[in-house]
């Protein structure tokens, strides 16, 4: 090995603490980069393969009832490659391990289920045979949560009739990678499932002989989707069409796409923070090494080492840290990616979600880290390369100190000399001081953002389940029915209060923009469903107008006071223009609310309801469920406490999994920044400190000067970090806004306190570590050695 390389390794060994700290920060950046990019790859790859192999449709439409021969006219729409008509109906199930009824959708299977669109992936068992009756396939999650296996039977109510169905297969569908019941905020695998049955049996069970009520299309490449949708809507309009939509609006796909979108953001933002901090730390460390090795550089140059060789020498130092960090970060990132894949399989149902780590991800991780590290040290390396050998041989001119702002303000008398030493030091290197503060502030901010999601979820849970939903049970009725059902339910055991509602499939229009959504007709008679904004503000339901979610209003480009046109997609399909009475800034979806009476008047259907919110006496719950089971018109029973529990369990666990990483990451950043700043200033100041010791200062007094600097940096950085965290949380809340979910911008004071305490502790610990070096200060050799 060449002597210059030996020097390199010994240099690194002597700075191993600092090098390790920087490497750790960089490794965190690489890890998050590798994790999110490989996950993105895995998710995208799996999704595309699944969609392609199982021929996931591109256009979807539901309608009331259309004759089968409409099929041919749909097929004639230019650009349509394949048409698949089917029957999709609601089903209610009586599961022995569930008190309340479970519900779901039952979908017809074509005679050959291996042809057509939205092909099922058979996980177990077989497809229903054409001859034997009452055979069904069950979606995997529902089957698993009830331990259903091929050969088992289930009791179900189909079209008001109680049937015994035999499970013959367990399946997955590209349509239901993410399965959530309509109107629900969270998946509930125990209470909502998808079922498939042979078409001829569905026709018989639902009186749909020679008819269909659902159609999906695949398109030829290059087809304009919206044109197809317009044509399809025209064709289905007379048959109660609810409006066709494209894959981007398909619920399951929307959730998966949303996740992919989020990952994409993570691929960029988080690594930038880590690699930025690492680049800054490398910069101060390398600049310091170069300044302490001024004479060594000069002598190497005097002996004939070229500038580029000197530059490469120090660059190798950087690259060695970078390479080790990339290796460690890649390993950690791959591990995190693999773990996250497991987490994803809890939400997303793929035949197999294979974690794939492609070489280009690692290469990219290496390139990004190298680029950021190089950028960080470019200036310092240039200084080393440009250092004229003769000049470097002379001792460095004394550092120029100026009176600090304190002294300029005339406050210096109240500041003791050690503090003045610290302040002058900090003020002399404003950029380094500023960046150190920024680094510690970033660590604080990451902690705030990390806890913010927890606060937001807690807030959401409280608002959603305690203040908006004041009911216990939501009973969904099979059809829009006469409100005599209301009095039937009202008299069921344990019902304390009941509030009917009705939902209406509509298309809202404003100018040339339109959105398909549902309008919920409420009565608010007993206050069981409150219209509350994200900030907890109550919105009054108007007599005539419509309340829109802020997000929906934004998409329609309307404001409160404007008018929107409602095209009802059900019944006699009326259209009308209503005033937007108010906006509600809610958590999810594109919701709209109207008065139930107004809706019924519009539909010319007095006393019609689609469901009811119930407040129940817990003592009678079992009896109530029993009654509801036996009420044919009840399509689904949503139990609020079950949803809440399910939500809390999954989200809390996932947040619990992510949290240690966030805390770990920010502690690593805080520690590295503080430790490196401290080591650098110790090296810059060891002569001064040793001099003070020789002059009679105690160990403690000298420590105070050194650690005081850390204390000042941390004290300034924490409030900035809290403010930054506040801002980043707001940004997270803003950028997470999608049609599906909005995260409320809520931060509890305890979050700020916790972030400040953790960073302060990291500062104390790094202070203690540096303090050990201070104790080892060799007075004589420090004073003898020439800087």
């Amino acid at each position: 090995m060449k002597a210059i390389h030996i020097k390199l390794f010994r240099d690194i060994a002597s700075l191993k603490g600092q090098a390790a700290a920087i490497g750790l920060v960089m490794a965190c950046g690489v890890a998050t980069f590798v994790m999110s990019l490989s996950l993105l790859d895995s998710l995208n790859g799996t999704l595309n393969t699944y969609y392609e192999q199982n021929r996931f449709a591109q256009v979807f439409a539901h309608l009331k009832r259309a004759p089968l021969n409409l099929n041919e006219r749909i097929a004639q729409i230019p650009g349509v490659a394949h048409v698949q008509t089917r029957i999709v109906e609601r089903i209610t199930l009586d599961m022995p391990d569930l008190r309340e009824p479970a519900s779901g959708q039952i979908i017809s299977l074509p005679p050959n289920p291996r042809e057509g669109l939205n092909l099922l992936y058979l996980r177990a068992g077989r497809f229903p045979s054409g001859t034997r009756s009452r055979e069904i396939m069950v979606s995997q999650r529902f089957a698993h949560s009830h331990r259903l296996e091929p050969g088992d039977s289930v009791q179900a109510i189909m079209n008001g009739r109680l049937e015994t169905l035999r499970v013959v297969g367990i399946a997955l569908s590209p349509e239901y990678i993410y399965l959530i019941s309509p109107g629900s905020i969270f998946p509930d695998n125990k209470r909502y499932g998808i079922f498939w049955m042979a078409r001829h049996e569905m026709e018989a069970a639902f009186d749909m002989k020679g008819a269909f009520n659902d159609v999906t299309l695949s398109l030829m490449p290059g087809t304009n989707e919206s044109e197809v949708i317009t044509r399809l809507d025209q064709l289905t309009e007379h048959y109660g069409g609810l409006g066709a939509y494209q894959r981007d609006d398909q619920l399951s796909h929307k959730f998966v796409a949303n996740e992919i979108h989020g990952l994409r953001g993570m691929t960029i933002i988080v690594p930038i923070i880590f690699l930025g901090v690492a680049a800054f730390l490398l910069n101060i460390v390398i600049a310091r090494i170069i300044s302490t090795q001024r004479e060594q550089i000069a002598v190497l140059k005097a002996m004939g080492y070229r500038n580029i060789e000197i530059g490469l020498h120090f660059y190798s130092f950087v690259m060695l840290i970078t390479i080790l960090a990339v290796i460690a970060g890649s390993l950690f990132g791959a591990w995190m990616g693999r773990s996250m894949t497991v987490l994803y399989t809890e939400y997303f149902d793929f035949p197999s979600l294979q974690y794939t780590l492609k070489p280009h991800v690692l290469l990219l991780g290496f390139l990004v880290s190298t680029a950021s590290a190089s950028l960080g040290v470019a200036h310092a390396l240039r200084v080393a390369m440009r250092l004229p050998p003769a000049e470097a041989m002379r001792p460095q001119p004394p550092l120029s100190f100026r009176p600090t702002i304190l002294e300029r303000l005339g406050l210096h008398r109240i500041v003791p000399p050690p503090i003045r030493m610290i302040l002058r030091q900090l003020e002399r290197q404003p950029i380094k001081t500023g960046l150190s503060i920024l680094g510690i502030a970033l660590a604080t901010a990451i902690l705030v953002v990390g806890s913010f999601t927890q606060d937001a979820v807690d807030y959401f849970l409280d608002l959603q389940f305690n203040r908006i939903q004041q009911y216990d049970i939501d009973v969904v009725l099979a059809e829009q029915t006469n409100d005599t059902a209301l009095s039937t339910i009202r008299h069921m055991p344990g019902v304390l209060a009941i509030e009917p509602y009705r939902s209406l499939a509509v298309r809202l229009r404003s100018g040339h923009i339109d959105r398909r959504t549902g309008v919920l007709g409420l009565t608010q008679s007993d206050g069981l469903f409150q219209l509350l904004s994200m900030d907890g503000r109550s919105i009054t339901l108007p007599e005539n107008g419509i309340i829109l979610s802020t997000r929906l209003a934004e998409e329609l480009h309307v404001r409160a006071g404007d008018s929107v046109t409602i095209d009802v997609l059900e019944g006699r399909r009326p259209s009308l223009s209503v005033q937007v009475s108010g906006l509600i800034n809610d958590f999810s979806g594109l919701s709209a609310y109207m008065n139930l009476n107004r809706i019924n008047k519009l539909m010319r259907q007095q006393h019609t309801i689609g469901g009811a919110f119930l407040l129940v006496d817990p003592a009678y719950v079992d009896a109530l469920y029993e009654e509801l089971h036996n009420t044919p018109r009840v399509a689904a029973v949503n139990v609020k406490s079950a949803t809440e529990e399910n939500f809390r369990k999954t989200i809390a666990r996932n947040l619990g999994l992510v949290r240690p990483f966030l805390i770990g990451f920010s502690v690593i950043i805080a520690f590295s920044v503080i430790y490196n700043s401290a080591r650098i200033s110790l090296s810059e100041r060891s002569r001064d400190l040793a001099t003070l010791r020789v002059l009679g200062f105690t160990r403690r007094e000298v420590s105070m000067i050194q650690l005081g600097e850390l204390a000042i940096l941390t004290t300034i950085a924490i409030p900035i970090g809290l403010a930054l965290g506040h801002y980043l949380s707001w940004l997270t809340s803003k950028s997470s806004e999608s049609e599906l979910v909005r995260i409320p911008f809520i931060i509890e004071p305890s979050t700020f306190v916790q972030a400040a305490v953790i960073v302060a502790l990291a500062s104390v610990v790094s202070g203690l570590v540096v303090g050990r070096h201070l104790d080892k200060l060799d007075l004589i050799s420090v004073l003898k050695s020439r800087e």
Partner: protein
């Protein structure tokens, strides 16, 4: 005493370096310092020259310019028939790498490299160098090759520096106050090492010092003051290092 270098000086036909009308000014803060004010000097092949003068007289600046560490503000320096002043930075580096050995007052060893490794630093990058062990042998440090600078005395460190400078078999050895940080006993051991190199290898040698005693071992003594050459004196009575005291 080997007198052949003296003969070459007397010959004065072959200047290794010739500096003509060299001036050097530099800025320190608000202050403009005139380090050299029109210096003319030749350095002849094989000679042992001592540059004598108080600190601030410009001798280090002159040596740095001759060795290609610094460039003059005006004037011209020739190395053999090459105009050094016209050299680019990289050409100058190559010149130093191939032709010049430096020894500095504060040794400037790399602290985390052993004696042998410090010498290897040079032998790694030059063509046809001697081995580090051989170079250390010449300065009498054969048994200290695996010691780090901190484990060596000042005199030993300076001898490692001399070994490092001569390992490349330089055409010229430039020493800036090589004994400045040493007591006289160890200083003389270092001077003996330099003298040996000059004599055995015939390396043209220039030593800067403010110590007039050292002038006794020179072929030629150049006295400087205030950035100018005050006097050039040919030493007829050259004495070996071990006879010198101060």
């Amino acid at each position: 005493m080997d007198t052949s270098p003296v003969e070459k000086v007397a010959d004065r036909t072959q200047p290794v370096f010739s500096a003509r009308a060299i001036t050097k000014t530099y800025q320190v803060g608000e202050l403009e310092i005139h380090a050299l004010r029109g210096v003319n000097l030749d350095l002849f092949k094989g000679e042992f020259m001592v540059l004598l003068g108080p600190s601030g007289s410009g001798k280090s600046t002159l040596l740095n310019i001759l060795g290609g560490l610094d460039v003059p503000t005006a004037g011209q320096v020739n190395y053999l028939d090459h105009n050094l002043t016209a050299y680019s930075d990289s050409a100058m580096t190559l010149f130093r790498r191939e032709h010049v050995g430096f020894v500095f007052q504060f040794y400037n060893l790399i602290p985390n490299l052993t004696a042998r490794e410090n010498v290897a630093l040079i032998t790694d990058i030059t063509q046809d160098p001697m081995s580090p062990d051989e170079a250390l042998e010449i300065v009498g440090l054969r048994d200290r090759i695996n010691h780090f600078p901190a484990q060596l005395s000042g005199g030993e460190q300076q001898r490692v520096a001399v070994a490092r400078a001569i390992a490349k078999r330089p055409d010229v050895l430039l020493c800036d106050e090589p004994t400045g940080a040493l007591d006289s006993t160890t200083g003389i051991i270092v001077l003996e090492a330099i003298e040996r190199v000059n004599r055995q290898l015939g390396t043209t040698t220039a030593v800067i010092t403010h110590n007039a005693a050292i002038a006794n071992m020179a072929d030629r003594v150049v006295s400087m003051s205030g950035g100018e050459i005050a006097e050039i004196h040919i030493n007829q009575n050259k004495r070996p290092a071990h006879e010198i005291t101060w």
